[in-house]
């Protein structure tokens, strides 16, 4: 059996890749995917812990997270579409009407 630590390390790496990508990428859709990656990294942790402790609730949480992520995706894509209609761009550097 693969030890718990391995899952956690993979999860941490995935999470970091997501966070890093979020910070350096410029395309809104890519940012969105990075966030999804982070959420799924968390899901992996949940499942790994649940399996390790032989508990069920961790796996249930994953469903919650997936449901929430789906709702977020629906709203988020709606926002992106509205933005694209007005601005014809998906680059975050160009969404800069407001600066201090």
């Amino acid at each position: 059996m693969i030890p718990l630590g391995f899952y956690l390390v993979v999860s941490a790496i995935l999470f970091s890749i997501g966070a890093y990508g979020f910070l350096i990428k410029r395309n809104i859709i890519t940012l969105f995917m990075c966030i999804e990656l982070m959420l799924n990294a968390v899901n992996l942790s949940f499942v790994a812990f649940a399996r390790y402790y032989a508990l069920l609730d961790g796996q249930v949480f994953v469903f919650f997270v997936m449901a929430v992520a789906a709702a977020e995706a629906a709203v988020g894509l709606g926002i992106i579409v509205a933005l694209f209609r007005n601005r014809q761009t998906l680059n975050v550097d160009e969404t800069n009407l407001m600066k201090w």
């Binding site: 966030i35 982070m38 949940f46 919650f64 929430v68 709702a71 009407l97």
Partner: protein, 482 residues
């Protein structure tokens, strides 16, 4: 089990009522002719009133329900009432705004109700996953509210920025939850506290988890260094939503932060205290200093709300009951003054939210004295001048800070509030000491906006001059108060 579950349903009547009414508004909105759609405001207000009755019916309850997922105590009831006040004022303020800006009133009000549901759930959660769900309910509703002016590029941009950074921070929080779960095998706050106290949890994992949770909440309540989204979002948002965002989610975020830190992680929290301290200081300084140079009043209020998050963070850092009571007092009174101020900003900005610059207020003081006087009261209250609720709140916070020997934090806090006076006065200077432009057009008032302003002024003066009742109430609502 089943039978007892049914008996526990009254504990979440407030949230059920709000959800049902929210859905009802959405349905009605589809079927009603366009001319009658403004009825949504009335329905939303009725829903809030009914919810308030349900919530007040819970007073005196103290316990956990639904297998320990929901906690009903003084703290959560106080906060639910705070959120209902915020919600009612937002609904009132947005009804005339939505009409003016040609927005769908029904969707607007329904989403506000859903956002209140989210905040209520956060306040009443005794469980990390529940907190996450409440937070997401709130966040998703606010993403849509921010972007509800679909054809307005600034509104789009505000929604996008909040959406991206909001979900980014949710991921951090969720990771923190996962690690806490891994360390303690549970997500129930009290159980986590017991596990940690018993020494059966891996402390390294707990420290990391608390850090991640703090990052997540830090984004939601906009404390430095997680504040960068705030000014853009508040500036671009429909103004009543800026008002809502600056008080509702902030109060909810802080409330949950306090509950999580005090119930689940008191030991780990002590470890992070230095960082909380630093974050409070930076939040106050950055908020106040950047606000000094703003010329757009919405941005100025955004930075001011960052600064206020700093004061509230001082209350969090105290870790004593007085601090928590001060937090409750402050979030409620801060809601009144900020919603009041934003409502006037929204009126003055005229159609299309165009006039949001400081110069647009020139001469308001003698052209429309009532409006200017009300805005002055809000600003003086934000600045913390005595006889306003803002002063009572700051007094309460700094009292708590000194009581837990945070002398430097208190000194930095009061000096910051002295700095803040400068930019609040700037608005008053422009209103009273500059002449109105020749092409002055009067600010159109609406009865609902007047109601919001009048209620806020009354509340600020009432809680500023006679704060006794609210202070006692806040004190008896502190977590762990029996």
């Amino acid at each position: 089990m089943d039978g007892s579950l049914a008996l526990e349903i009254p504990q979440i009547f407030p949230e059920i009522a709000l959800s049902v009414f929210g859905i009802a508004i959405l349905l009605l909105d589809t079927f009603l002719p366009k001319s009658k759609r403004h009825a949504a405001t009335g329905i939303a207000l009725a829903a809030i009133a009914l919810t308030a009755v349900f919530t007040l019916g819970l007073v005196g309850e103290d316990g956990t329900f639904f297998s320990g997922m929901i906690v009903v105590d003084g703290f959560s009831i106080f906060l639910r009432i705070t959120f209902l006040v915020v919600g009612a004022l937002t609904v009132l303020a947005s009804s005339s705004y939505a009409t003016r800006e040609n927005l769908a009133v029904g969707e607007f009000q329904a989403l506000v109700l859903f956002a209140i549901v989210g905040m209520n759930l956060m306040a009443a959660s005794n469980e990390l996953i529940m907190i996450f769900l409440g937070l997401e309910t709130l966040s998703i509703a606010s993403y849509i509210l921010l972007g509800i002016k679909r054809s307005d590029a600034k509104s789009n941009e505000a929604a996008l920025k909040y959406f991206l950074l909001g979900s980014f921070s949710s991921a951090f929080m969720l990771y923190g939850i996962a690690l806490a779960y891994g360390a303690t095998r549970t997500t129930n706050l009290e159980a986590i506290g017991r596990e940690i106290a018993a020494g059966s949890a891996g402390m390294t994992l707990i420290y990391v988890a608390v850090g991640l949770l703090f990052v997540g909440f830090g984004f939601k309540v906009a404390v430095v260094p997680f504040h960068v989204w705030t000014p853009d979002v508040y500036e671009g948002a429909p103004t009543p939503i800026s008002a809502f965002m600056s008080v509702g989610p902030k109060a909810a975020g802080f409330a949950v932060l306090v509950r999580v830190l005090m119930v689940a992680f008191p030991a780990a929290y002590a470890k992070w205290l230095g960082l909380v301290w630093l974050s409070a200081v930076l939040t106050m300084f950055v908020g106040n200093c950047v606000a000094l140079v703003q010329s757009n009043i919405k941005r100025m209020l955004a930075y001011s709300s960052i600064a206020h998050a700093g004061y509230i963070l001082v209350a969090v850092a105290t870790r004593n009951q007085e601090g928590v009571a001060a937090l409750l007092f402050y979030t409620l009174t801060y809601a009144l003054m900020n919603i009041g101020a934003f409502t006037i900003v929204s009126l003055v900005s005229r159609q299309g939210d165009r006039k949001t610059y400081l110069d647009d207020y020139a001469g308001l003081g003698f052209k429309q004295p009532g409006l200017a006087a009300a805005l002055s009261i809000f600003l003086l209250s934000l600045a913390g001048i005595p006889l306003t609720a803002g002063f009572a709140g700051k007094f309460f916070i700094f009292r708590a800070a000194l009581e837990s020997k945070f002398v430097w934090l208190a000194i930095i806090g009061v000096l910051n509030s002295a700095i803040s006076v400068y930019y609040y006065l700037r608005v008053i200077v422009v209103m009273y000491m500059k002449e109105a432009p020749d092409d002055w057009s009067p600010v159109a008032m609406s009865s609902s906006a007047i109601a919001v302003i009048a209620l806020s002024v009354l509340g600020i003066l009432q809680f500023g001059i006679f704060p006794d009742m609210l202070i006692s109430l806040a004190r008896s609502s502190v977590i762990g108060y029996r």
